[in-house]
Symmetry: C2
Subunit: 486 residues, 2 copies
Amino acid sequence: MLLTLDRSSRVPVREQIRLEIAQRIRSGLLKPGQRLPSVRVLAETLHISLVTAHQVYKALDREGLTLTRQGKGSFVRETAVLSAEAAAADPYDWQLSVPDSLPRASFWSQSAVRLPPHILDLATAAIHCSLLPLELIQASFRQVLEHSPQSLGCYSSFAGDEQFRQVLTAYLQQQGITVQPHQLLVTNGTQQGIDLFARTFLGPGEIIAVETPCFSGAIDAFRLARATLQQVSVDRDGIRVDLLEDLAATTKVKAVYTVPTGQNPTGAVMSLGRRQDLLQFARTNNILILEDEPHREIELGRKDLPPPLKALDTTGHVVYLKGFSKFLFPGLRLGLLAADGSIFNRLLAAKSITDLGSPLWLQTALIPFFSNPLLPKYLDQLNSVLASRRQLTIRLLDRLLDRRIIRPRHFAGIHLWLSLPGNVNTDYLIPEAHHRGIHFLPGSIFYAGEPATNHLRICWTNLADADLPRALKILCALLNEALEPA
Amino acid sequence: MLLTLDRSSRVPVREQIRLEIAQRIRSGLLKPGQRLPSVRVLAETLHISLVTAHQVYKALDREGLTLTRQGKGSFVRETAVLSAEAAAADPYDWQLSVPDSLPRASFWSQSAVRLPPHILDLATAAIHCSLLPLELIQASFRQVLEHSPQSLGCYSSFAGDEQFRQVLTAYLQQQGITVQPHQLLVTNGTQQGIDLFARTFLGPGEIIAVETPCFSGAIDAFRLARATLQQVSVDRDGIRVDLLEDLAATTKVKAVYTVPTGQNPTGAVMSLGRRQDLLQFARTNNILILEDEPHREIELGRKDLPPPLKALDTTGHVVYLKGFSKFLFPGLRLGLLAADGSIFNRLLAAKSITDLGSPLWLQTALIPFFSNPLLPKYLDQLNSVLASRRQLTIRLLDRLLDRRIIRPRHFAGIHLWLSLPGNVNTDYLIPEAHHRGIHFLPGSIFYAGEPATNHLRICWTNLADADLPRALKILCALLNEALEPA
C-alpha cells in the first residue's frame, strides 16, 4: 500500500490513514478477505507510532470495514472468509504482496457493476441511444470508409488529425471559444483530458481545489497523481472564490477543477460574475483552471447560459475539456482539450507518452458529421425532447417524493442530485434498489475527503421513454421508506 | 522542474541532475531561450551545494546545451535569443513558471517531427498501407455499421467488449496463449498498456529493469511514473538473466520490461532457454514481467520463433501486451493486455481512471475481421512480401554500407539497428539526412541513462516499394561519409 500523508494538513495523520484505507476497501482495491499490513509494518512504513497504527485498525473495525483477530492480523471484512486451504491452492497468491500506486478507484467500483438486464439504470450519465444521431453518423462513417480509408493506415499525429481539429475549431467558435487548431488536442474522452492534466501538472502533494461534491472520475485521477485535494464549497453561483482566496493565502494552490455548466453531480450553473471572479483569481495567483464542460450542448432551451470560462480567458490560464459522449456517441470515446502556449505543449508531451495519439480513423470519420449542416437541427431536436423529459422527471419527483428529500431548484446537465436527511446512508440502499430493479449512484463517491452519505445522483436521460416513469416511481418509494416516519 | 534524485545510486547526484536537465532539453520539454532555475534556486530545491549547482550548469554549457551569462542566469541555447521586449509582450509568459511532472519525452520529440512530404521516412515503425488488409477491414466495418450500429450508443465496459475479448481469446490461443476473456483488457495500443503498467506498479524510485537499448516510448512512460530504470545488457539469446540475478541480489527489482521477439530497437530474439530462465527468475523473486510483443505476426517465414513468455507462464507473473498496429491498422490504436488475478484487477482499475475504456465501436467493428477465415491467408501474404523486402534491404546494405558499420546478423521485427564507430554521433547527422531527403531515428533516444550516440534505427517496411532502395542508397552514402577516411 502506498499512502501519501500530508503532515501539514489540519486532518490528523491517523485520520488520513483511516480514510485512505477505508477508501481502498470501499472502492474495491482491497478485496474482501485480504490481509492488511500488521500494526508493526504499518507503523514502520508510515513513520507513525504503534499506538496510532493500532487506533487506525480499531476505527476501521468499528466501521465494519475490517476485522482484527488477536494474533492473526487485520483483514478486509467479508461474509465468507476464504479457508486457508483454498488460499494456499491459488497459484496467484504471491500477487497480493505486490504493492501498487492506486489510491482509490471509486468511479470504477460503482460504474463497473454488472447489472442484470432487467435493472433500470439511473446511474450512467448518458443519453438513450434512440435519441442519438445514428443516421448522421452512419452517413459520415460510410463516406469516409469509401473515400478516405487510408486514414486507417496511418498513425495519427499525437495532437490529432489536422483537418479534424480545423472542423472542431469552427465548432468551438460557435460557442464563443476562439482557438487555433494547434491549440487543440484530441483525447479519448474527457476522462483522459482530466488524467493528462493531473499527471502533467499535479505532482505528489501539489494542491488542486475541487468543488464539493465533485465528479468521482476526476477525484480518482487527481489521487492517482498523488495530488492533495482541497474541497471548496459551491453556492448557487458556483464555486466560492472567496474560499479559494482564503485557501491561496495560506497554501500554494496550483489548480482549480470545475464543471461550471451543469456541475457534476449537483447540476449548478456558475454565474457570469463568478466566472469573471474565478478568472481574476487565477490570473492574480497564476493558478491553472481545468474547465470540464460536458453539458454545453444540452442547454434544454436555456439560451442564457453564461459563456465557457475558456471564452473569457485571454491569458492561457484555462485548460478546457469537452466530451462528445453526451450529444454524440459514448462508443466513440472522443473529446477535445484546448489550451495555450507551453501549458499546451506539455499536455501534448504527456499525451504522446500515454498512447501516441487517439485513433485516426474515428477522427476522420467524424469530419463529415461536424461539417454537416443538419447538426444544429439535430441538437435542437435533442434538446426539445430532453426538455420535456426533464419536466416529466421534475413533475414526478414533486408529486411522489417526500418533502424532506431535497433537489436543487435550478440545475443544468442530465443528472439530478437528491439530498436526504443526514441520518440516511444511501450506500446501504443500493442492495434494496437492485432488488426492486433500479440502480443509482450513492453520493459518497463524489467526495474527495470524508464522504457525506445522505445524497444520491440519478440520470434521467439514459432510460427508454416508457422506463423512466417506472424507475422514478420505484426510486421515490424506496427513498420515502428510508426516512423515519414523519 | 521536478527532478527525482536517487542518493543511493552509484551515479553522482551532480551527474544525475545534469543528465535530467540535458534530457529535458534534448526532448524538447525545455524550449530554446527558456530561463533555467538560478544556481541558488537549484541548490535549495534539490538540497545540493551552490558549488554542485554551479558545476551542473558549467557542464551543460560545455555540452552546448545551455548558455550561462554572468548576472543574467542560465538559458537553454538557441540560435536567436528572444528579445526582452518580445518576451514581455507574450501573455502566456507566466506559464513558464508552472512546474510539471514530465521527466522526458524523447519518443515524442523525435516522432512528432513534421516531415515535408518529399522526405522518405525510415523512422516510423509501420507497414506501408498498401500492404495492409484494407478490404477485409472495410467489409468488417460495413457489416457492423449496417447490423450493429447500437455499439456507438454505449460506453464500453472498462475492460472492453465481451464478444471482442472472446474473439481475441481464440486468436491468442492460436499463438499458444491460453487465457479467458476476463483476463483480457482492450487498450489504446501497446503504448497505453505500458503506461498502465507503469502507473499501477511503478511508484517513485521503484525499480524496473529494461533491456539496453530499449524502446524509448517505454522509457518515457516509466520515467513519467518516476520509477528508477536499471539497464541490463542483451546478448544474442536476449536479456541477460545472470545480470538480473546480480541486480536482484543487491536491490529490490520490481519488474522487468522486455520485447523478447524482435527486440526494439535491436531486433534480437530471446531463445527458448533464456525465456525459461527469465520466468524462473521472476518466480523465485516474485518479479513482474512486462512482455511487449508487437512482432509475433511478422515472422517472415521463421516458423521456429520461440513461444511468447505468456504462453509459458503458469503463475501470473507475465503481463502480456500485443499491439495491432503492425499487422492491422495503426489508425485504429487498439491493442490488448493479458494478465491474471489481482494484477489484472489493478490494471483494470487504472484503465478506468485513465479513460473509462477504449472505443466500443472500433472493438465491435473488428469482431468480423478477427473471425474472418481469410485472416491467416492475409498474414501469410503479408509475411511473404515483407520477407522479400527484408532480403532486398540486407542485400543493399551489404553492398553499399562501409564494413565498419555493423548490423545484427539475426533479427526479427520490422526495424534494423545500425552501429557506427564510437566517434560518430548520429544525432548530428539528422539535419543532413533531412537535407538529402530521408529521416531515421538516432540511437540516443533508446537509452534509459547516458545515451550511446553512435547507433541508429531504420524501419524498412514503411516506404512504398519504389522508395525503399532510393532511401537506403541515400542513407548508406550519408553514413559512409560520416566515417573517417579508411
